[in-house]
Structures are given as structure tokens and as C-alpha cells.
């Protein structure tokens, strides 16, 4: 063969071999995640469990920075050191991506071994066969007793567990003690009923001309109408235990009416203006002293701890009772640990999961993050933990109290996407287009219609 012919062949060969390479590179690009996370294939670990080799586990969460990340990494390191045959790798996935990404990974058969998931949709994933049934690994019936009962309830689908609760939160009200004193209120006896709350709020309001210098309390800031509604309705959310739609009950209508009165008091424009400013994160209105009482998750404490000046004298109280004796009902969310369907080493994963939800580890995670943990004993220990500052201990005492009346509202399987329907009606009420009764009647009808569509 002549050299020219050779060169031609080599050229052609090069092009032919490089094309698939380029294509493969493109394909990889399309699949790889935007954060550039390295996600090794779990298949590599197939079958290694029984051969005495190390089982590799991949653990996904959205704790990307700060104390949560540091703590979870330290916890994983300890776990890896204690367990010769299991090696857990921590993979951070951004909050906005983690669950759509894991869904794609589960559908594609390369899911992580353990993942932090939303507590409200466990049943949905169990039904759709996205999560492994964990009942087979739970040897001890008393395992569930480690956790708050309302949290454990969320992980049960058709009488079997599909996740283990990890942490939770509860909505409470933070108040400025100095502002209480200035308004002539007793800073040590915060309001316990809605009527008292309103009364104290009026005492705390400071208005000069058209401008508000201090807002006593506006209920819709950081606590939704859904929470006030369930507080008024003795802990029954938009759906009762049997799954019936309970949106337009008299108590909930009354709760919405009360919220509308509070809006009228300050004026819609005032509220909009302040909301836009809070939204752009200029300054925390509670820290700056603009609002004297503010609804928040209890975990807001970490924010105050980091950002509030030393002399901000604040306290926290439970969501007041609608009427005396109706109960300090409030709402919480949280996260669970799940083992996706069709992973290689569910048994080893469950071992890791048990470790993460053990009292000792939960205590450690809570102490560093001020999260309310799902493990009851861990929270109990934290209420008097010698390594915690006094105010930190008080937060856990508040958590213990508030959790007694904290409702978790998992999305109903018959209406997983009901929220926009209810919110639109409530917005209409706040815009003055509908009365509370009309709005909740309409919401009741819309959601019942949605339930019907899904049955």
C-alpha cells in the first residue's frame, strides 16, 4: 500500500473512532449534574456484601454548608471508622435539585443508597414504588417508639414503614421582651389565647402619621393561614384523619376572618410593602425591631444566635389557643431518611439509617444545628445538655412542649397537588374579592373535585 493510501486510512480511522467518543462525551454531558458532583455507579458494588468486602454506600442530602454539613460529615466519618465493612460516601445535592434528580436516578436504576427526603410525601413515594419497604429490616417492634408518634405516622403506608424520621420543626412565636416592657406588658407572661395575642399586639403597635414604626403582630408573616386554621379547628388540617376534606369548617372560617381583620388593621398596602422588603432580605424585621412578635419555626433561634445583637432580649411562646382550652395547636414539617427502590445494599443502608436515627447521633446533630430531632430521647437529653448554653436548652424545652400539639400534614394521596387550589381562594379573600366563608367554600369544592379526579 502506498503511503498516501495509508495516511487516508489513518485519517479515516481517527475520525471514525473519535466520533463516537465525542458523542459519548456529549451524552455524558447531558446526564451529568449541574453541580458537577461525582456520582459513582452503585453497580460496582453489586454482590460485594456477602464476600466480606467493603460495601460502598452513597448518601444524598442537601446540607451543603454550615454546622449541618460539618456535623453530618463528622458523623459519617465516625460511622465509617466503626464499621469495617460499610463505607458511606456523603454527596451534597443542592436543595433545588435533589428530589427531581433522585427521581430521575430511581427511574434510571442508579439511585443513591440513602437519601434525605421530605416528610410530607413519604406515602406518595411508597405508593409509586420509589422507596424501599423498611418493615423487613425492623426487627424490634419498639423501634418506632423512639420517634414522636405524629412523625412516625408519616412514614407508614399500608401499615408498613417506608422511611425513618430524621428531624422536624414546630412553629412558635418569638417576641421582643424589651418591646413588651416599653408597652407596659409583662415580658414574662406572653399571650396564651388569640384574644390576648391581639390585645398585646395593639399595645405593641407604634404608628407615627401614616408610617408604622413598630408592628405588634401580623399573623400571616411566616405562619400560613393553614396553620391558624388548624389551630382554631383543634388540630384538624385541611384534611381529617380519614382523608375527608375539611376546609370550610366554621372554626376555619372564623380563623380566616380573624386574619382578614388583622390585615384590615394594618392595611393591605402596608403589609405588601413590608413583605416585599422582608423578601429582598434587607434586614430581619424582628432583629431590627420593626416587628415585636413574629411567627417562625423554632429553628429561627440559630438565625438570632448568629445575627442578633447581644442586647436583643427575646423570648419564645407557643402558638396561642384559639379559645381557652382549645389547645396550642401548631404545625411542623421535617425530613426523613429513605432507601430508594432497587438499590444494591438495602440491609447495609438500613444499618446506616439506624445509626443516624440513634439517640446518640441525633443528639449530636441537634446540638450543632439546633434542629429538633425526630428521636424523642435525643431532644429530652438536649433540654438539659451540659454543653448547651441556657437559651439553647430552653429552645429544646419549648420544642418538647410545642411538639405535643404539633401537627404534621402529609400530602393526601388523593390530592397531592391541592395547595394552589386552596391558596388561590385564600388570596382572593385577602384581596377583598371574597369573604372568608365564600373563599373557603370555593376551596372546599375545588379540592373535593380534585380528590374525585384522582379516585
Amino acid at each position: 500500500m502506498s503511503t498516501i493510501a495509508w495516511k487516508k486510512h489513518i485519517k479515516r480511522g481517527l475520525i471514525l473512532t473519535s466520533t463516537p467518543l465525542i458523542l459519548a462525551a456529549c451524552a455524558d454531558d447531558a446526564e451529568s449534574d449541574p453541580a458537577g458532583e461525582d456520582t459513582p455507579d452503585t453497580e460496582e458494588n453489586a454482590g460485594s456484601e456477602n464476600s466480606g468486602e467493603t460495601v460502598q454506600l452513597e448518601f444524598w442530602s442537601f446540607w451543603g454548608s454550615g454546622p449541618r454539613r460539618e456535623t453530618i460529615e463528622a458523623i459519617i466519618e465516625d460511622f465509617n471508622n466503626e464499621n469495617d465493612n460499610i463505607e458511606v460516601e456523603y454527596v451534597y445535592q443542592p436543595w433545588g435539585d435533589i428530589w427531581t434528580k433522585s427521581l430521575a436516578a430511581i427511574a434510571g436504576g442508579n439511585a443513591p443508597d440513602v437519601i434525605v427526603q421530605d416528610i410530607n410525601s413519604v406515602r406518595q413515594r411508597a405508593e409509586a414504588e420509589q422507596a424501599t419497604n423498611l418493615q423487613q429490616f425492623i426487627e424490634d417492634d419498639s423501634f418506632s417508639e423512639n420517634f414522636y408518634p405524629q412523625l412516625w405516622d408519616t412514614v407508614i403506608y399500608e401499615d408498613e414503614a417506608y422511611a425513618v424520621p430524621f428531624n422536624t420543626d414546630t412553629q412558635v412565636i418569638f417576641y421582643n421582651k424589651d418591646a413588651f416592657e416599653e408597652a407596659g406588658l409583662d415580658p414574662e407572661s406572653p399571650p396564651t389565647t388569640w384574644a390576648e395575642l391581639e390585645e398585646d399586639a395593639r399595645a405593641l403597635d407604634i404608628q407615627s402619621g401614616d408610617d408604622w414604626e413598630q408592628i405588634g403582630f401580623y399573623p400571616r408573616w411566616n405562619i400560613g393561614p393553614d396553620v391558624w386554621a388548624l389551630n382554631a379547628d383543634e388540630g384538624v388540617s385541611w384534611f381529617d384523619d380519614e382523608g375527608n376534606v375539611t376546609i370550610n369548617t366554621p372554626e376555619k372560617v372564623a380563623a380566616l376572618e380573624w386574619m382578614l381583620e388583622q390585615q384590615d388593621h394594618y392595611g393591605r398596602d402596608t403589609i405588601n410593602q413590608f413583605e416585599a422588603e422582608f423578601g429582598s432580605g434587607v434586614a430581619d424585621p424582628f432583629i431590627s425591631g420593626l416587628v415585636a412578635m413574629r411567627g417562625q419555626n423554632l429553628n429561627y433561634y440559630t438565625n438570632l444566635r448568629e445575627n442578633a445583637p447581644e442586647d436583643l432580649n427575646y423570648g419564645v411562646f407557643r402558638l396561642p389557643e384559639y379559645e381557652e382550652g382549645s389547645g396550642h395547636w401548631t404545625w411542623g414539617g421535617g425530613f426523613v431518611l429513605e432507601i430508594p427502590e432497587n438499590t444494591e445494599n438495602p440491609e447495609a443502608s438500613f444499618e446506616f439509617l439506624q445509626y443516624l436515627t440513634s439517640t446518640e447521633v441525633q443528639e449530636r446533630f441537634g446540638m450543632n444545628s439546633f434542629d429538633i430531632m425526630a428521636n424523642i430521647e435525643a431532644n429530652e437529653n438536649l433540654t438539659s445538655h451540659p454543653d448547651l448554653e441556657e437559651q439553647g436548652q430552653e429552645m429544646y424545652q419549648m420544642a418538647q412542649e410545642s411538639l405535643e400539639t404539633t401537627v404534621i400534614t402529609p400530602v393526601p394521596l388523593t390530592a397531592p397537588d391541592y395547595i394552589p387550589l386552596v391558596n388561590a381562594e385564600i388570596d382572593a379573600a385577602f384581596l377583598g374579592e371574597k369573604t372568608a366563608q365564600e373563599a373557603l367554600d370555593a376551596a372546599q369544592e375545588s379540592v373535593e373535585n380534585l380528590v374525585e379526579q384522582n379516585q
Binding site: 475520525i15 471514525l16 466520533t19 465525542i22 458523542l23 456529549c26 451524552a27 447531558a30 428530589w99 427531581t100 427521581l103 430511581i106 427511574a107 406518595q124 405508593e127 409509586a128 414504588e129 420509589q130 398596602d269 405588601n272 410593602q273 413583605e275 416585599a276 422588603e277 423578601g279 429582598s280 434587607v282 427502590e341 397531592p416 397537588d417 395547595i419 394552589p420 387550589l421 391558596n423 388561590a424 388570596d427 382572593a428 384581596l431 375545588s446 373535585n449 374525585e452 379526579q453
Partner: protein, 317 residues
Amino acid sequence: MKNADTSQFKKAVEEMKSFRRKKWSKRKKKDAWWGLLFVSPFIIGFLSFMFLPMLFSFYGSFTNYNITSQMDFIGLANFRQMFTQDQLFMTSLYNTAYYVAFNVPLTAVGSVFLAVLLNRRIFGIRAFRTIFYLPAVLSGVAVYVLWMQLLSPSSGLVNTALSWVGIDGPAWLFDPEWTKPALILMRLWSVGGAMLLYLATLQNVPKQLYESAEVDGAGFTRKFFHITLPLITPIIFYDIVTSTIGAFQIFQEAYVMTEGGTGGPSNSLLFYNLHMWNKAFVAFDMGYAMAMSMILFIIVLSLTFINLKLAPKWVNY
């Protein structure tokens, strides 16, 4: 023009036929293979990432597919639910249509206007062009967050500027009457991309046409409406077709600017794709979401078809 089109089409068909009939020389065959090889990245990419998913989606729209556990054929149930039961389907369709109806013409007018302004030989024109093009380069979440601050009812720059001329600005993103106008306004900010296209076309308009018009005594307006505008209609047409398709796909803005895709006050920003996303990834009702995407596909396809049909009436080639 239409005749030219059909004759070209016939010619192409003839060529295709002869392509099959003709016994090819070795040389030609080889060239054809090389040709295919070089377009193969596109063909493979198109087939695997566009065409097959579309077929899958088409089939999926007749099922109760939920991504992980079920995919049973349920006939037209998804479509029936869409048009008879799902209240939010109509809301989202209305919101999207509203957005398209205002966004497409306004951006077209805005970018032509801007292009005409920037098509001058004055000092520093390059700097101006760059400045007006810049917003088109910036995109995504950062811009939306910036606009949320600009549109803030009391302290935002937009309302501050309005107050200088005595207008008490609306609550923008907090008032369902104003959320969509706010978004349309925001999109107008980035007309620079289309402006660049128009600018290039404007510079191709033959100078002698203007010169002879001037000799005949035509002023600026006359020259613009009788020379400039007719000669740039092909680009206006292209711009309108592509921006209509783009506008129907609005998603990111609403997802970012309403809290995590809840649809904003009174669902006024619940756009079609946002509702579809909620159905797919919140309710895991992927079959329904696929059915929705098919309807959107049909809507966009028909609009594009109408555009193409109307084009000979106003587009000058």
C-alpha cells in the same frame, strides 16, 4: 413567492427520486457516506434526545405513567380530565395566552425601535449597542431576584421612578392584576438579543433606496414605513415565530418569582409549564403532564402554521 416555493419543492422531490433511482458512482457513494458521517452527531442527538422522547411522551399521554411504578393505557382519560375537571388547566392556559399575547408584539416592537435608534453613525454608538445588548447576556435566577427588588412596591426603583412623575405605582408581584404585566415588563428589558438581529438586517437595507426616496422628498417616517419596515419583515417574521414558541414555554421566571412554583397571588403566575411541572413532579402524574405537553405542542404547532400561512400577506422576500 408561493410558486417559487412549490417549484423548489418539486425540484427537491425530483432530486430525491433520482437519488434513489440512479446507480451511483463509487465516488458519489463515498461522498454521501462522509456527508452522513459528519451530520451524524446531529442525527443521533436529535433521534435520541428529541424524537424518541417525543414519541415516548406521545404514548405516555394515553397512560397513567408515574415514572416509577405504573404505565397503564387509559385512553383519553387525561385529556378528558384536562378539559372537564382540572380548573387549573384553564387558569394556566389563560395566564400563558395573556403573557404570549402581550410579550410577543411588545418585544418585537421594542427591539425594532431600539435597533432603529442604534442604527446611526454617531459618536459612541458601539458603546450604546453593547449596553443595550448586555441584559440579553444576563439571564436566569440572578436577574429575576434583581427584578424582584426593582419591583418592590415601596422601596423598588421602578415605583420610585414612577413617583417622580406623580404616579403611585402598583404592588407589582403582590397584586394578581399586576403580576403578569410585571413579568412582561421584565422581559422587555432583554430585547437586546432580537435587537441585534434587526440591527444586522437594517444595515443590509440598500442605501440607494433611501437616497432616491429623499430625492422624492420622503421624510423619516415615510422612509421607515415604506422602505425600512418592508425590507426587514422577514426578520420580524422569524422573530415572531421563535418568540411565540419561546413565550409559550415560560417557566423559570414564574418558578423563581413565586415561592417555589406555587403560582403567585391568586395563581396569577401559574403558567402552563408550571402547572405541568407540578403535575409531573409534585403529583407524580407524569402521564397527565405528558398529555398537557401534547396539547401545548398542538397549540404551538397550529400557531406556527397560521403564522406561516399568513406570512405571504405581509412578509416581503
